[in-house]
């Protein structure tokens, strides 16, 4: 296995209550380009988002992290990332294949995947969306979009938790034609 780095970026958030978390959002960044890794770390630091970034440098490592986490814990635990940020051009296992494997595995498919693409054409966007990508950005992601992404992902996990715990409201609240 290659080098894995973890970076904790703690920044005080000023968002509303739904965005407040007690711990940084664990993110798996799958990126082989050292410059892009550093740029992404700096962007998250600037975004104001509180994240814990773990970096792996090829698709095989990414799947190993995700599948090892799956075998020991459910996706809601800290052992698995709450967000995968995935470059498309990766050594060993290519980004689209990593995306396909994540979205086809019922144990980890709930983890949102944001694509970081180096290509600006529409074709890779369409392919990734068809494979189940949750978000798609052309590199580098802006600090504003990074902040929005983290807020959306925190909200997403909050809604899942509340859906899991909720009792459905009476049927009369629905409109049906």
């Amino acid at each position: 296995m290659g080098t894995i780095t973890s970076t904790d970026i703690f920044v005080q958030r000023e968002d509303g209550p739904m965005n407040q978390t007690s711990s940084p959002l664990p993110i798996l960044l799958v990126e082989d380009n050292e410059i892009d890794i550093e740029i992404t770390e700096r962007i998250f630091a600037r975004s104001g988002a509180s994240v814990r970034l773990r970096v792996v440098r090829d698709g095989d490592e990414a799947l190993e992290v995700l599948l090892t986490g799956r075998s020991t814990n459910a996706p809601s635990t800290d052992e698995l990332p709450r967000l995968v940020m995935l470059d498309l051009r990766l050594p060993r296992v290519e980004g689209r294949e990593v995306l396909r494997r994540i979205k086809e595995d019922p144990d980890i498919s709930a983890i949102p995947v944001a694509i970081l693409s180096g290509a600006s054409g529409e074709r890779p966007l369409l392919e990734c969306m068809a494979l189940g990508a949750n978000m798609y950005y052309v590199k580098p992601i802006s600090a504003n979009d990074a902040g929005k992404l983290v807020a959306a992902v925190e909200k997403y996990w909050g809604i899942i938790t509340r859906l899991r715990d909720a009792k459905p409201r009476p049927e009369g609240e629905q409109q049906r034609s």
Binding site: S120, M129, S177
Partner: protein
Amino acid sequence: MRLLLIEDNPDDVAIVERLARSSPLPVEVTAHSNGVEALEWLARAEVPPDLVLLDIGLPGTRGTDILKRIKEDDELSEIPVIVVSGSRDDEDILEGVRLGAHSHIVKPIRNCDFAWIVVSVMKAQPRRLALRSMQGRR
């Protein structure tokens, strides 16, 4: 949040309605089993829905034709449409995304799919963000 569900399978309608009733944020579901009827409802609606959830495998009028009509209509084209299919290998998925679908999900719709639908409408607009990001770099 107002959601238009175009789905002919009552079991799948029931799943979405149950998730909507459990949602921490109010979600009002209007369900139509027929695509043409849904288009007529959209044309008459005083307040358009925030999102359309479209079964791409509808019997009769194809789901991709319904999507095309929505995306070609100036008043409706901004409404995000998420296509739903029975299989990840459905060839209509790529066609749906090409025609302007926001994203797609595979049946059965799970908690996580529904949560992402809500988040997408509330905050993030993945497709729009992506396209804007691309346009900025051309």
